[in-house]
């Protein structure tokens, strides 16, 4: 069971309550919530906010692939996964990503939660533009997405 969405921050905020509702079930004994939030410092610069950009369709495709891999690679069959990533301008402390996972047991919940965030970092086309106290802003460098063969 997967919920995957890119949320335009101009339309709504992402919140943990929707994640809680989605993953809550007596089928699962372990639930982990991961949130990423906007930090006030990066590379010795004072950050005041971040603009997130996204190729929405490709991001959702990557979320689906990562979810399916949990079964094929990690052999975690019974799982509920909620992933939302923000798009647009976020202030300090605001949530950029929520990953909620529910599994039968804690071992697989911890493994799955970590797997999802690490794969998103490598494979989901999302970009950050940091804004600083001196009114400057910079796109963060990032890493090349993996090229697929045709």
């Amino acid at each position: 069971m997967l919920h995957a969405k890119v949320v335009n921050i101009k339309e709504k905020k992402i919140s943990l309550s929707a994640a809680e509702k989605f993953v809550h079930s007596s089928d699962y004994g372990a639930t982990i919530y991961f949130t990423g939030t906007v930090r006030n410092q990066n590379n010795k610069k004072n950050v005041i906010g971040i603009t997130y950009d996204s190729h929405d369709a490709l991001v959702i495709k990557s979320f689906n692939e990562i979810y399916e891999e949990a079964y094929h690679k990690l052999k975690i069959q019974n799982r509920a996964v909620f992933i939302e990533h923000a798009k647009g301008y976020l202030n300090l402390g605001e949530i950029s990503i929520i990953i909620a996972v529910a599994c039968k047991h804690r071992d697989e919940a911890y493994i799955l939660s970590r797997y999802i965030i690490e794969e998103i970092k490598k494979r989901s086309p999302i970009w950050k533009k940091e804004h600083y106290v001196d009114n400057q802003s910079d796109w963060l460098k990032g890493n090349p997405i993996v090229h697929e063969k045709n």
Partner: protein, 89 residues
């Protein structure tokens, strides 16, 4: 034929329209598109080295949301997205 390049992330700095348009030959490949963008940067951004580096390390994505290699042949007037190095979360 005409091709549209949709810009994302840092490549949005290449144009205020968030889009580049080029006239290309039939059977052009992604490699040709990459070279078109490099030429565009030479002409419009004085060969900005950082921008050119970004183009060389970018992937490209079709309208069907597939990441394609440099050999991919563009056979119709499709829209291609440039995918610069990523880093969400």
């Amino acid at each position: 034929m005409k091709i549209k390049i949709e810009l994302f992330g840092v490549s949005r700095e290449f144009s205020k329209n968030n889009l580049l348009e080029f006239e290309i030959n039939n059977n052009s490949t992604i490699k040709d598109i990459r070279n078109k963008i490099i030429n565009y940067l030479d002409q419009n951004f004085n060969g900005n080295k950082n921008f050119k580096k970004i183009v060389n390390s970018s992937a490209f994505c079709t309208e069907n949301n597939n990441i394609v290699s440099d050999n991919y042949k563009i056979t119709k007037n499709e829209k291609i997205a440039i995918i610069p190095p990523i880093g969400g979360g």
